[in-house]
């Protein structure tokens, strides 16, 4: 396998324009002869399916939810970045590009990020034209807010539901095409296999989640927009259905998986309340502007927070990072909280939480002011925990909420399997080792609305792929493989439920490959994961049949893939013997506890190639070369 990133030549700022001209076109009358299979209907998938159908391609679109409108992009709260410079505060394409590269700790591909910053402008224009009700100022102009990692105000938002509104915009565009007959929509349908014919992606095998029927779909290209793999940790802010199956199946069919160890932890989530917990809920980081983070000084101090005197409290962020205090960067505050809890000083059920205390701010500014700033967050906290945060401190704990790694793609968003395109969180391309707030929505829509529609045509016109042959041997084999897998899962008839395996796996990767990773821990995880996987395949309990709606079976299939994928993630984390962004190796840190990169040895994308069930994945490196920026130690002082 050779990684060819296909980055266009020429100056950074002109690459995309030049490339757009160099891309070959498909005659409008010929477009309807090509069928594209789009898997996933989040921001990336829905926008791609709609845009491709508008161009005239035949599109089939698949999602596991009962409606494309429910994809997890809907849960994004904060906003979407665009270098509009409406605030006259010095924003520009170059600045957005620079912030994103720096935020990604210099582990993202420069040309992709620049293109992302360029098309960010069109995204906002298009979304407004679709009727997305962005927040406005009294003069009728679009409002902006500022977000972490940037010194300009460039984030567009729709209350705390920006993801929802952008997704509904894309969903409506998609629905319009479904109504026009240009897109065939397959909800409650899960992809189980990628079909590769003569080296090109030619179709997928899916399971109808209502009838259990396994069938094939043939197409001229396959687009995966299937999101991230945060649920490998069992508990994350992802929807409970989010999974790695589609991407992992593609990996097993030859698509390289890049940087799987890059995961992002968000510091202000509502902590776990017990073993029953099925997912974590994120609260806006803005809370840290007025809240003080602390834990008791004494281990196992069970007193109520207001019974603990000032002198018995440890305001650990203020103590450890006097200049940043409670506003220390995401990864640093997350790790500090974990350390405090690991020392046995955590609060709340299971000791997995730290206080975020507003009493000083309430004393200083009055409850009314705090209510004005954070009422919706305090309400949300109360709904979930039943506690009034005006009276007693909130409890928070970090949680996984985004994965920067994903299938490797070239500049055209095509994976190492020709004809297989990967968009949004499912690919690896734009966020490097850490994603900035309000950038995920931007990337998903950029890929779907403004990149893929250009580059997919080039694949059709330039590569002239052969017509897909549904029912050919490759399809029959892939279908048989999917069926066998389902039968195998049902035949185990063991004692342990999928959830208990998933929970154990999650706890293991959270401990060993979560906020802080070490060689010792990762090696231990690499020992334990195969053992857990073996137990899974010999002691799994699921009921029901494969020929009906069977949620236990669906979950088992996904966890089976997580059990394999987790190993790849830990292997990547072990191999990347440096710290960068969200990947923090305890062996490599600065005196302030910041991630310490090793640019000499690790300034590359790590792309893993599957080598068979028993083979060790093969590492390919795509060197990262920076023309437009100077690599520096990331610092937000």
């Amino acid at each position: 396998m050779k990684l060819d990133s296909k980055i266009p030549s020429g100056p950074l700022a002109e690459k995309w324009n030049k490339h757009k001209f160099d891309l070959k076109l498909v005659n409008p009358a010929n477009k309807r002869k090509f069928e594209v299979l789009v898997v996933g209907t989040g921001l990336a998938g829905a926008s791609a399916a709609a845009s491709l159908a508008e161009l005239g391609y035949q599109v089939s679109c698949f999602c596991y939810q009962d409606s494309p409108r429910r994809a997890h992009s809907i849960a994004a709260q904060g906003g979407i970045n665009a270098a509009k410079n409406y605030k006259n505060d010095g924003d520009s394409i170059h600045r957005l590009f620079y912030d994103t590269i720096k935020g990604g700790d210099f582990r993202a591909r420069e040309a992709n990020v620049h293109r992302l910053a360029e098309v960010s402008l069109s995204i906002i224009d298009h979304c407004v034209a679709q009727g997305v009700p962005f927040a406005r100022e009294y003069g009728g102009m679009l409002d902006n807010r500022s977000f972490g990692g940037a010194q300009v105000s460039r984030t567009f938002y729709a209350r705390g539901q920006t993801g929802q509104q952008l997704l509904l915009g894309a969903y409506q565009a998609l629905s319009r095409q479904v109504g026009l007959g240009a897109v065939k929509m397959f909800p409650r349908t899960e992809m189980l296999e990628l079909v590769v014919v003569a080296g090109h992606a030619k179709g997928i095998v899916v399971r109808d989640m209502v009838t259990g029927k396994i069938s094939s779909h043939a197409g001229d290209a396959v687009v995966l927009a299937t999101g991230g793999y945060s649920n490998v940790f069992y508990l994350s802010t992802n929807a409970v259905g989010c999974n790695v199956t589609a991407a992992y199946r593609a990996y097993k069919k030859g698509a390289a998986f890049a940087n799987p160890c890059y995961t992002q932890i968000h510091p202000t989530c509502i902590p776990v309340s017990g073993d029953h917990q099925s997912k974590l809920t994120l609260m806006s980081e803005s809370l840290r502007n007025d809240g003080r983070v602390w834990v008791p000084k004494q281990k196992g101090d069970k007193r109520l927070p207001h019974d603990i005197a000032e002198k018995d409290r440890d305001y650990f962020l203020e103590r450890k990072y006097p200049s940043f205090g409670n506003l220390a960067p995401r990864d640093i505050s997350s790790r500090a909280a974990k350390e405090a809890c690991d020392e046995g000083r955590g609060v709340g059920p299971g000791g997995l939480g730290v206080y975020l205390d507003f009493s000083d701010a309430i004393k200083r500014l009055g409850e009314a002011k705090i209510r004005e700033r954070y009422a919706n967050l305090f309400d949300m906290y109360e709904r979930i925990t039943g506690e009034n945060a005006y009276r007693m401190p909130m409890r928070i704990y970090p949680a996984v909420h985004y994965t920067m790694g994903g299938l490797w793609v070239d500049y055209n968003l095509m994976s190492t399997v020709p004809g297989l395109f990967v968009l949004g969180e499912a690919n690896f391309s734009d966020h490097g080792a850490n994603r900035l707030g309000a950038s995920a929505l931007m990337q998903g829509l950029a890929d779907g609305y403004f990149v893929l529609p250009y580059t997919i045509g080039h694949y059709f016109a330039h590569d002239k792929p052969a017509r897909p042959q549904a029912g050919s041997a490759e399809f029959r084999e892939a279908e048989a493989a999917a069926r066998t897998r389902v039968q195998k899962l049902l035949a185990i008839q063991g004692k342990r439920t999928t959830r208990s395996f998933h929970r154990e796996l999650g706890r293991l990767v959270w401990d060993k490959c979560g906020m802080a990773r070490s060689e010792k821990g990762l090696k231990e995880a690499l020992q334990r994961i195969p053992a857990l996987r073996d137990e899974f395949w010999s002691n799994l309990a699921i009921t029901g049949s494969g020929e009906s709606l069977n949620q236990a079976l669906e979950h088992a299939g996904r966890v089976a893939d997580f059990l394999e994928f987790a190993e790849l993630m830990c292997l990547d984390a072990l191999t990347r013997d440096e710290s960068c962004g969200g990947h923090f190796r305890t062996e490599h840190q600065t005196e302030e506890g910041e991630a310490k990169r090793d640019d000499e040895h690790f300034s590359h994308v790590a792309a893993w190639e599957f080598q068979g069930e028993d083979g060790r994945p093969l590492l390919h490196k795509e060197p990262l070369v920076y023309e437009g920026v100077h690599m520096s130690q990331r610092s937000y002082k």
Binding site: A75, K84, A129, G131, R383
Partner: protein
């Protein structure tokens, strides 16, 4: 705490369903209602019985997947709350709780508590969009939109399409859902251009799905997790009346 659960079990759309009774023990008051069901399912699996099927995904009240009637009220009837955010501390120890699927001809049961809400998708496909294709949009700030209009549009646009309005309405009417989308797009200048065509087509699609009619009882508004206002139904009535008058004598298509 402990609960007695009466849960609707139905193998598939063609089978007859019935209530089954389960004991849920060791309920932690911090569990959400769905996490409580997860635990019940774990114990069912351990006994070799098929778990209760129900829709859920984001579990933070925004995707609109969860859909169950708890003690006669969609999502349990707590103000502005979906079933996934309904916590067990709101229930009494020892209580008997009845759990049913959404009941409507337009939402046929798929299995247990899962219903088919694709009718909502077809309503949107009929006209719940702005007919703009990707590319070529003018600058986002060219058309100023008064802040109150943007806020009102957002109030309507918040709908999560869960179908609680239909489930609560004694007529299984989808008016609140349709009204929310019609209003969201008609309030904004971008959507105003095709508002007559949109409202006629969406109402036609709504009728053909077999939803009932609005009798202004207000139950939809009361159970809506996003607190979508009944006023939007008034707006829909108005929009449709105007569109009807304008389309007189000319085909709507």
């Amino acid at each position: 705490m402990k609960l007695t659960l009466k849960v609707w079990r139905q193998k598939d759309g063609d089978s007859r369903g019935e209530f089954a009774t389960y004991q849920a023990n060791d309920i932690n008051p911090d569990m959400s209602f769905l996490e409580m069901l997860d635990e019940v399912n774990e114990s069912l699996l351990a006994r070799g019985e098929e778990p209760i099927a129900f829709d859920s995904d984001c579990r933070e009240g925004i995707c609109g997947a969860c859909s169950m009637v708890i003690n006669g009220l969609p999502h349990g009837g707590r103000k502005a709350t979906t079933a996934c955010q309904l916590h067990m501390r709101l229930f009494e120890d020892g209580e008997t709780v009845t759990v049913e699927p959404w009941r409507a001809r337009a939402f046929p049961v798929v299995r247990d508590l899962i219903v088919d809400r694709s009718g909502f998708d077809r309503i949107i496909q009929a006209g719940g969009f702005v007919s703009v294709s990707t590319g070529g949009a003018q600058d986002a700030n060219v058309i100023p939109i008064p802040k109150p209009d943007a806020e009102l549009a957002m109030d309507a646009a918040q709908c999560i399409g869960c179908g609680a309005c239909v489930a609560a309405c004694k007529n299984a009417s989808a008016m609140l859902f349709v009204a929310a989308k019609v209003s969201h797009l008609a309030i904004l200048p971008q959507g105003r251009v095709e508002k007559n065509r949109r409202v006629l087509r969406m109402v036609e699609a709504m009728d053909s799905e077999g939803f009932g009619n609005c009798t202004v009882t207000g139950s939809c508004e009361a159970v809506c997790p996003k607190e979508i206002s009944l006023n939007f139904i008034t707006r829909l009535n108005q929009e449709y009346a105007v569109a009807l008058l304008k389309s007189t004598g000319q085909s709507a298509r």
